[in-house]
Amino acid sequence: MDVLTPRTLDEALRLRAETADAWPIQGGTDVMVELNFDRARPRVVLNLNEVAELRGFARENGTLRLGAGLTYTECRRELGETLPALAEAARTVGSPQIQNRGTIGGNLGTASPAGDALPPLLVEEAEVELAGPAGRRTLPLEEFLVGPKQNALAEDELIVAVHVRPSGARQTFMKVGPRNAMVIAVASLALAVDRERGEIRAAYGSAGPVPRLVRAPLDEADGFPDRVAEAASPIDDVRGTAAYRRHALRVLTARALERCAA
């Protein structure tokens, strides 16, 4: 296995275009599990950890640019005010070690229905910036997530950043799992009560093939828990039953509404 370590984004993009089967690796918290479980043997790994352009976050006139390499620990420590649901989600991810290594870009790259960064970003109507030989393109997160562990990334592209215009809405993130830490969501929910735009936005995880956004006008709050539960399409698996997942979404939505109402 070869490891390519570009120093700049341009170099990374060039290597990516030249080496079609190269696997990008950032924190490695998903990639290394694949290798460890002998599920994949990439010929080439493209190590993005030295690419400064992918790190950290920046404010750009009213929007936030979150680098693909932004870690959960950084989200938790530095975005608590601007993107509170994302910061709360970051706190639920794995353990401190995983939060130190795991990144937003990696979560998007994996595109798991259980990815904890995804519901809070959906609720904030985030856009994903991709770069490839043909240049840059930006698409809404909803369009980026196309199926379970499938996204709109082309073979020769990299995820560069996520752009968010913080809504300032009251928001929260909750995750249900049978263990109190280090657990993959059995069901999760991010919810924002956006008074400025007069709407409620919620996004669920682990309750359908992709995390999905559900909206309603503010005055339809009463029926919203049912609406979220019905929008989901959960399944029975080793982690939980479909019936439980739907039930949990109903409870979480009701509680989140109350939390964000005050």
Partner: protein, 748 residues
């Protein structure tokens, strides 16, 4: 030797002594079996069955042997000696022939230069399977086709002859008059899922050929000599040519009693004449060792108005999975303890363990007592409710005590302070509920941030459990220790102790050195590596027996060495040495009569240990999530050899019992394990485990060296029952199955 005890720097029996392996394990410096290396080493890999039940036809290795780096591909045809092995009954193929009976059963072996090459070659071994319908339901197994041509029940000398299909062993105990009626009757049906030992160090070892046809095996195991007794016949070697050495053990909990890579590694090493290392992956580890038996239990308790139990009926069915392992002993234990540590004059206990095509089950901490404790304690709470009695009071009124006769006919002797542990535990102060708001980490759901107090109800549960110490039912159990006493260059005395006791994390290394220092009144005591080549068997690191047994053996060897030293005038010249080996045996036990289930001599079990536990939980009753808040426990320890180590065992054992109550379960579909990873087999984290207030009840056991009892199992036996009781209190639901799922807690 009557001088006042010298002050020892490093701690004698009864003192809190720091573990020698504590810091190395914490800092990552400790060498586990998976860290073993040898020059010229090859890597072994096991080809495993993807089916739970299938006929095995042709095994074609022709492509695999030509793969890069491959040195050997072996099948059952390459096993030179006996083709079957087993802890108590040899029914398990070294490598499958004719049939595979469980998912993950070893079928072939590969040795290659690199582990990756071994894995790739393993994929090229072509095995012709004809899938058969798997037997997966323990109840139906009794009527389905036999999975084994022979089984223990066909040996009526030892075992009750049970004509039903697939019975590994059944025990029927009739005690007093089982038709006795009571004023109040409660019944219940209970179920337990498959728990895994979930040790963190996967199975691993290194086999090194000695050039003379023999082999040295370095392995993480629980009993070196019983490994040798099983390995040597399969290799067709005399025992002396198989030397087994203990490698760093990353947890065991019963899961390393059965063999894993020992024979396989040795076969490959002898075949290639190269050292061969085998390390299981995590997924393999989940299929590569036996689990705790899942159970279905039905109980009926009859009592009088005054709260005295008059009769108990218990029907226990255990799923042993594909091979016998230690099922024959687990089911006996389950029958012995089915009525709990309560005096009851009449009982009918019917306990059966069956073969299925589910994952093989065998030894795990608590060994048959965990399953029945979950059931009898639920019953005692039901009975207390029916009688409108305080559950603690009900237990006190029925507490078993020395002099009482157990259902198997054994009269309790020695120390068994059941009433004492109940009282001492009940006296502990239960913490007040913490005020809200709180950090979500201190609420059900923990880091998931799901509640700020909504839906949260508190529950408190109490449970009592007991089990035996040491091996039972006539097993000729012993432990050897050897002491070398010599003078160093400066003339000062020093000692080296040899003992094959497996340090599996329980701290037996500390016990051995504490005993030797105490008996020799010497600081300078070192412990030689555990091996079959310098000392006789120490027996198994199981059954809460090791502290008792090594204390006896080491103390005897030390006393003999000191006697000899006295005879030589109290000093040794440089170069002079005393070398003695002693064998210690615990009081004798007797088997049960196969027909009546009554003990055929004075005792069936050597001695007993008991423990009471109170658990406080908070349950989010809308989501079915739990936070364990506090555990208080009083445990009968005889005498604490090392109080710090005892507390460690109590906390760890409690975590394992709590895990079974709340989350730990091997899930299967048609016999295939569907959660063979730590992603989906969940064990408690630090956020799931509450603080433990533990009281050590010290009433020395008259038959045990220093009065010390083993302490590893009681917390696991009782914790599952205690946590389940607290969950019932919080939710008002029956919760008859563990692990309790969120769905169960909310009644979905």
């Amino acid at each position: 030797m009557s001088a006042p005890a010298r002050k020892l720097e490093r701690g004698r029996v009864g003192e809190a002594v720091r573990r020698a392996d504590g810091i190395p394990k914490t800092t990552g410096e400790f060498a586990y079996a998976s860290d073993l290396q040898a020059a010229g080493m090859l890597w072994g890999h096991t080809v495993r069955s993807p089916h739970a039940h299938a006929r095995v036809g042709e095994i074609d290795i022709s492509e695999a042997v030509t793969m890069p780096g491959v040195h050997a591909v072996l099948t059952h045809a390459d096993v030179p000696g006996t083709k079957l092995y087993g802890l108590e009954y040899a029914d398990q193929p070294v490598l499958a022939f004719d049939r595979v009976r469980y998912y993950g059963e070893p079928v072939a072996l590969v040795a290659a230069e690199h582990p990756e090459q071994a894995r790739r070659a393993a994929e090229k071994v072509r095995v012709e399977y004809e899938p058969l319908e798997p037997v997966v339901d323990m109840e139906r197994a009794l009527e389905q086709d036999e999975l084994h041509p022979d089984r223990p029940t066909h040996e009526p000398d030892h075992y009750r002859d049970d004509p039903r299909a697939n019975v590994v062993r059944s025990i029927l105990i009739r005690h007093g008059d089982p038709d006795t009626e009571g004023d109040v009757v409660v019944t219940g049906e209970y179920e337990l899922g498959i728990q895994d030992q979930a040790f963190l160090g996967p199975e691993s070892g290194l086999a090194v050929p000695d050039g003379d046809g023999g082999v040295d095996i370095y392995v993480a195991t629980q009993w070196l000599h019983v490994d040798r007794a099983q390995v040597a016949p399969c290799l067709d070697l005399p025992p002396e040519q198989v030397r087994i050495h203990l490698a760093g053990v990353g947890g065991a909990f019963g899961g390393r009693e059965d063999l894993s890579m020992q024979i396989h590694g040795a076969l490959l090493a002898l075949h290639t004449n190269r050292p061969v290392k085998i390390v299981y992956t995590r997924e393999e580890s989940f299929v590569g060792h036996v689990h705790r038996h899942p159970a279905r239990i039905r109980m009926e308790h009859r009592a009088n108005r005054d709260g005295k139990l008059v009769c108990v009926h218990a029907r226990v069915l255990l799923d042993g999975g594909a091979y016998a392992s230690s099922s024959t002993a687990v089911v006996t234990n389950a029958s012995s303890f089915a009525c709990g540590p309560y005096a009851v004059a009449n009982a009918l206990v019917d306990a059966t363990v069956v073969y299925t095509n589910n994952p093989p089950c065998g030894a795990m901490r608590g060994f048959g007592a965990v399953q029945v404790c979950f059931a009898h304690e639920a019953q005692m709470d039901k009975l207390a409710a029916a009688l409108e009695l305080d559950p603690v009071e009900l237990r006190l009124r029925n507490a078993l005590a020395p002099g009482d006769v157990m259902p198997n006919g054994q009269k309790v002797t020695g120390s068994l302070p059941v009433a004492d542990v109940i009282r001492r535990c009940a006296e502990l102060t239960v913490p007040e509920p913490e005020p809200l708001p709180r950090d979500s980490l201190r609420l059900p759901g923990g880091s998931g941030n799901v509640t700020r107090g909504e839906g949260v109800k508190r529950g408190v549960g109490f449970a009592l459990g007991f089990k035996n110490l040491c091996y039972s039912h006539g097993f000729d159990d012993y432990c050897a220790a050897r002491v070398r006493l010599f003078a160093g260059a400066d003339g000062a005395l020093a000692a080296e102790v040899h003992c094959a006791a497996a340090e599996v994390g329980q701290g037996v290394v500390g016990v051995i050195t504490q005993v030797a220092r105490t008996e020799l009144e010497l600081d300078d005591v070192t412990l030689a590596p555990g091996t079959t080549s310098t000392v006789d068997s120490a027996g198994s690191a199981s059954a809460s027996r090791m502290t008792w047994m090594v204390s006896g053996a080491v103390a005897e060897a030390c006393r003999a060495a000191r006697g000899e030293l006295g005879a030589r005038g109290g000093t040794l010249a440089p170069g002079e040495e005393i070398d003695v080996e002693k064998v210690y045996r615990h009081p004798q036990t007797w088997p049960l009569d196969p027909e009546t289930g009554q003990v055929t001599g004075e005792r069936a079990h050597v001695a007993f240990i008991c423990s009471a536990m109170r658990a406080v939980v908070e349950v989010d009753t809308d989501l079915g999530l739990t936070r364990a808040v506090w555990i208080g426990t009083a445990q009968d320890v005889g005498r604490a050899v090392n109080p710090q180590a005892v507390l460690g065992q109590i906390e760890g054992g409690t975590a394992q019992g709590l895990g079974l109550a709340l989350m730990e379960e091997i899930q299967t579909r048609d016999g295939l394990i569907t959660n063979a990873s730590f992603t989906d087999y969940l064990i408690p984290t630090t956020l799931d485990m509450p603080p433990v207030d533990a009281v050590l009840v010290e009433e020395p056991e008259p038959d045990a060296p220093y009065g010390a009892k083993g302490v590893g199992e009681p917390p696991t036996v009782v914790a599952t029952a205690a946590v389940a009781a607290a969950l019932r209190d919080a939710t008002g639901r029956d919760l008859t199955r563990v692990p309790v799922r969120p769905d169960d807690l909310i009644g979905l």
